[in-house]
Symmetry: C2
Subunit: 192 residues, 2 copies
Amino acid sequence: MNVSAKPERTRLSAEDWEDAALRLIADQGVGALAVEALARQLGVTKGSFYWHFRTREALLQAALERWEQYGEREVISQIEAMPDPRARLPELFRRVAHELAPHRVYAALLKALDHPQVVPVMARVSQRRMEFLTNIYREAGLPPEEALNRARLTYAAYVGFLQLNFTLGLPRISHDEFDAYVEHMIKTLTPG
Amino acid sequence: MNVSAKPERTRLSAEDWEDAALRLIADQGVGALAVEALARQLGVTKGSFYWHFRTREALLQAALERWEQYGEREVISQIEAMPDPRARLPELFRRVAHELAPHRVYAALLKALDHPQVVPVMARVSQRRMEFLTNIYREAGLPPEEALNRARLTYAAYVGFLQLNFTLGLPRISHDEFDAYVEHMIKTLTPG
DNA sequence: TATCTACCATACGCACGAGTATGTAATCGC
DNA sequence: GCGATTACATACTCGTGCGTATGGTAGATA
């Protein structure tokens, strides 16, 4: 990912456009993704865009696939590297709870599931994450059937939390209250 | 709500437009709500629409408020009428799990949270439901703080489930598997 | 240094959906 | 049964955002 801001005045690549698109999506949602708006934000005009992409749809597709590939590899590998399986779940919970930034794109895509292009991407990403969760629960000692259901429940709670908090700003919750909520989640959803 | 289909050829009221709008939202999402499309579906033209409503925005607003008021009063009152507080939660879970139709509008609005008009409505509805859930948990014996957190968790799981299943079609789950999942939810989230 | 190509600007066309202007048929109060 | 109001049709305007056509410029290449 290109971390640089706007004041850079070199020439742009397709990846620059995709990154900018993802930033705009995270900030204002998929509906705000318009080529002229993006071009203004990058300090160029449409002429540039249509050299790199055939259509707006193509940009969205490329940006989504880039996001999907870039993924969350670090988190998964770091969690799986932990020696004690029982310790993985609390660590995972606390981690996603306190690193909300990486989830902003996912949250933005969640509230844009009426756009047909995002549905398959979200389906794949969510599926992979749920399989990862299922494995963790099995390694923590749950029988296969129960591990699967618990993973479904946990991931649904994650998705719902993003919607209720990020988007609806609900409930109005303080920092301490939030920590208490996370601990409650761990106590309720973690076996043993 | 007017249950009648299209072949009726009487004159329309504002409520008819609102009901049709809600049906269209449930079927194709908020983004598909266009006045000419709605008019076609009702067998009339735009001229009719702009007699009943000043703008498209006004129709959406009216439809949302209508949905909010119409609400889920029956479910809440029926549950609260149950004598044994401990029996309410399992009953509530099984009920919402097997009556998915009334949740279609809610699910459609969930994937349209990038439309500014739906956010406050969804915030109010979700807030009220969570307060209802919190009460149930308290009456089931949980201390206030824990009841609140458990309600947050449960409602987040509900919201996430709608997104993952209705919209993403994920996970591909059979009828029996689904029943098992519901029972797992009850066992995990119900105190005692 | 000539030119070639990648990158971008400018100026259009075009479709689509919201909203307006105005005429007309049906229905109600009396 | 007659004017007034309600409900709708028809035919426009207009803004917005996508895509296209075409010409320009800076850096690489030879």
